[in-house]
Symmetry: C2
Subunit: 581 residues, 2 copies
């Protein structure tokens, strides 16, 4: 096997085209073996094997800097840069990481920054009078993002070597959305010759390669642009899922896939009977859309976040829209829809909503337009990779004036809050979708949440009050149970509103409590619990805030991380009993 | 005078072209009179009078929705929609505001959201089966912003009426930067016929008008696109500063200008002898760039933030770059420069840095690249308009892992921190540039800030400790003085680091203090003081956090707002003496 002899990119320079083609097949097998076993990105990586081989054949990494946008398409790169074993054993990340290899330059998991960061690398090189190639690889899907555009628009200013490889596989996570994609199609169909050219309109030099999965052709084009003295776009036409029929047929499903059987594509673990908030939300929205033709949902390239499969998307028609990887647009657009008197619901992964801090503030909340944002996969049970870590949403959302940020504790309350949010016309509302599994509670939940910042006492008690936020309410229950075993009778509170505190109730708690502990599934600093600590500051009430430390944590196990950081029922109960009372 | 008879847009529909031209001159006089007296945007508004008249002549506002991006070019619109007196007397805002008039749809002060918001208005209209025109007006400068691009890229998806007027005056705040501007030039020079067309590349219909300051021609083109059944771009070539020679000659200076003499252009108040942090920073950077050729500064369309006039820009050459209104790119780019081993300093108005929350986190801090961000005009002494309010930067910046956010209290400390930030290679560093005027202190300031999160006791004392952040250190001094008058001897602390607390010192304070008060120039919720309240939560220490409420405040006077919200030396001292001890 050739792949076993490749320990650094220099090793592939000795191979012939035929040998490189064999190497390609070997890499494909390794990738398929690995992602089918552990789950991971499939299609994006299969389409980029040839280009990655060709780049490492032509350029001299790490002197020449190859930067993958999003970097979930960097598997072949990892295999070729001394991380084959780590990749196979799943001990290296799905994303590039300079701590793993000198061939990586950035940790990159969010879409679109690569061109901007490469502009920076190129400019820094020039300021230091160095000579080498800087190569950004960015997908067509990523080009729907504003940051990518800002990078492309600024690239011509660099005025020296900068090679931007546009990996055009005609797909985002789902199908592409946006006017740009018609131009990319024109360019593909005209073999790059169409006079109307998005890249040239941004003053960039441009070459096109139709055979984006042909190693010889790729080597040829990269050799032509190597050491180029100005920014140039290399637009290559690739096939997402190349070499694996299932991924080619089912592009969206195979963008990212949990462990699966390589022959049938069937999941190794049958999750079909497990309730999840994606389906619950999708079903609610579909039913509600039937009632209200002025209700719409929009997603930013992840319709799966509400289980809107292609079938459902077709069925709901004009009441659904995908805007591409454009979270800024999504929020501003939702605000416009709300202003018109219609209603927009924007479900989004919390980590990506970080893109929209200014839009949530200026475009939505300052206008006080009643759009609804559903924030998925926040906190410790979200995506356990530092590049997708979402421990910061409470800070981001709950401190914006006018915004109402709700934290339901179970399915019933989530649906009640969602329905209220959709029906009301007073506030922009965000809901932190629970992440601690779908469970039901035998409790009467309010239908109306217009009286803001009112806590709900779930279990009255005394001495210690536990204010447990959203998905950490179950942790609060565990802590309470442990304290009860010790003969205590703690009060258990769900604050429900992350965007404010219930000062009446906080005052009331002073009567029969000496300690208030807060539990939140996010970082403590700047978080929800500190609002309560701040309120109680001048009083004699003791407060202790539990949550996560302000650090990036990579590829963690939730239970381990919680233990490590003391956010664990036993440790908290112990702390209360032994240190705080 | 015609203008006196215009109380609503319908009134102008009765006038002839000649009369409209007279009306235009009258409006220009009103604008010049007003901005020269009170200060304000000059060039952007003078260039848009004709187009605004023509739009109101052709469309039926507010049934048809006219939305100005940034909206500092909406003066003629305000005058024509019943707000002439308010405009003259400076009692209406510089920006559009639905609370002022039904002819306004959004409060808009940040650049670039108009197209996205109009996509939302149009979609909401369609969902409700309404018929009217939706018109976005966006400047060429704004088109450097990623959010604008996301809007343009999504516009074709709307598939029904949406008119996007591109007001191309060939300027941003300073000159334009980005490859796009070459294409706009090609389009202007070919009278819109160039086959390479940025807008068409985004699948948008397109018409061009060279005479963008000719009312008759504008009426003609707007009549042609009115009721259009699909999205269309109307690209108009306008002259920034039209009708006022000084503004045409000095575009950058007259983008926004403090009160000035209409004949000479001289400022009514001579500020030339007043020290300011823009010049101080600019002078420091110029000197440092000479020493270090691998140091660069970049700005996002506001080189004036470091007083980099066109002369200086030319002098420093490759060591300066303006990236257009592209704050996302600016942060990612800075990270790339830092990664290369060179150094980038990015000075920016705090309100606009809100655009870069995700970039500060993912692209910069997760990489731990040592770029430097200088955050200007934060807090109550920043820009006193809700659309530019910057009370949220501490929340945004200080809770990001790895980021060091510094708050100097005077000129000497600012320069010491700036120099350390530029010289070090360990951390991404942001500095909150003081806003309480330039003043010096007879104190020895450290040169090395690498020992993170160490407070500085500026005056030791007992009983009460005042932790006064950055620009509010002077407020802390005032509070201390008032307490001293009452025979107390408070401790005065500058925390210096907004991104962490000095737990050793906080523990130490417990010995001789019963109360710690925090003063910060930002909102209390999620802010710096709450970190201290959180830390002291389990202890017996009383803490009181002073700062601003979580609300948008418009066109405020700093002293009044501080009084209103109890963030005032007398009120705080009184509170301490009477309620807290």
């Amino acid at each position: 096997m050739y792949v076993e002899k490749i320990n650094q990119p220099a090793d592939i320079k000795k191979l012939t085209i035929e040998q490189l083609n064999v190497l390609r097949d070997e890499i494909r097998d390794i990738i398929l073996e690995k992602v089918s076993k552990y789950g991971g990105h499939v299609g994006p990586d299969l389409g980029m094997i040839e280009a990655t081989i060709a780049m490492h054949y032509v350029f001299d990494s790490p002197i020449d800097k190859i930067v993958f946008d999003v970097s979930h398409q960097s598997f072949a790169h990892k295999i070729l840069t001394g991380r084959r074993e780590g990749f196979i054993n799943n001990t290296v990340s799905e994303y590039t990481n300079p701590n793993e290899s000198p061939h990586d330059f950035f940790i990159m998991g969010h879409t679109a920054p690569a061109v901007s960061m490469c502009c920076g690398l190129a400019k820094g090189r020039d300021l230091q009078n160095q000579k080498h190639n800087v190569i950004a690889i960015i997908g067509d899907g990523a080009m729907s993002g504003g940051e990518a555009y800002e990078g492309f628009n600024n690239a011509s200013q660099i005025g020296s070597n900068l090679i931007i490889v546009v990996n055009d596989n005609q797909w985002s996570i789902a199908e592409n959305h946006g006017g740009l994609y018609k131009n990319l199609k024109e360019l593909r169909e005209s073999n790059g010759a169409s006079p109307c050219n998005f890249f040239k309109a941004l003053d960039l030099d441009y070459v096109y390669l139709d055979k984006g999965n042909d190693i010889a052709a790729l080597i040829d084009i990269f050799q032509k642009v190597k050491d180029c003295d100005h920014p140039i776009v290399v637009h290559i036409n690739t096939l997402k899922g190349k070499g694996f029929e299932l991924a080619i047929k089912h592009e969206e499903e195979y963008h990212y896939k949990p462990p699966f059987d390589l022959k049938t594509g069937n999941p190794l673990q049958d999750m079909s009977n497990m309730e999840n908030y994606e389906e619950i939300t999708g079903a609610y929205l579909q039913a509600k859309m039937k009632e209200n033709p002025a209700l719409m949902a929009l997603t930013s390239a992840t319709p799966s976040v509400i289980d809107f499969t292609p079938d459902i998307r077709q069925k709901v028609g004009q009441q659904f829209m995908d805007v591409g990887i454009a979270e800024e647009h999504a929020v501003a657009f939702s605000s416009g829809v709300a202003k018109s008197g219609a209603k927009a619901v924007y479900p989004v992964f919390g980590t990506f909503l970080q893109r929209s801090f200014d839009q949530l503030s200026e475009d939505l909340s300052m206008q006080n337009n009643p759009a609804v944002v559903l924030v998925f996969l926040t906190g410790v049970y979200g995506i356990p990779d530092q590049s997708h870590q979402c421990f910061f949403d409470i800070i981001e959302i709950s401190n914006i004036p006018n915004m109402v940020y709700l934290a339901p504790i179970c399915k019933q309350e989530y649906l009640a809050m969602l329905d209220w949010a959709v029906e009301q016309h007073q506030h922009p509302v965000a809901i932190r979708v629970p992440t601690d599994g779908v469970h039901s509670m035998e409790v009467e939940f309010e239908k109306d949440y217009s009286q803001l910042n009112k806590f709900k006492v779930m279990k009255p008690g005394k001495q210690v009050a536990i204010v447990a936020v959203g998905s950490f309410f179950s942790l609060g229950q565990q802590v309470a149970a442990l304290l009860e075993k010790q003969g205590m009778s703690p009060t258990l509170v769900s604050p429900r509103y992350l965007s404010g505190v219930d000062t009446d109730m906080l005052d009331e708690l002073c009567q029969e409590h000496q300690l208030v502990v807060t539990l939140e599934d996010g970082i403590v600093e700047g978080g929800y619990g500190q609002k309560i600590a701040g309120y109680y500051g001048p009083s004699g009430m003791k407060v202790k805030n539990y949550g996560f430390q302000k650090v990036f944590v990579d590829r963690y196990n939730a239970q381990d991380l919680m233990k490590e950081q003391g956010v664990n029922a036993e440790q908290i109960a112990d702390d209360i009993l032994n240190n705080l009372l």
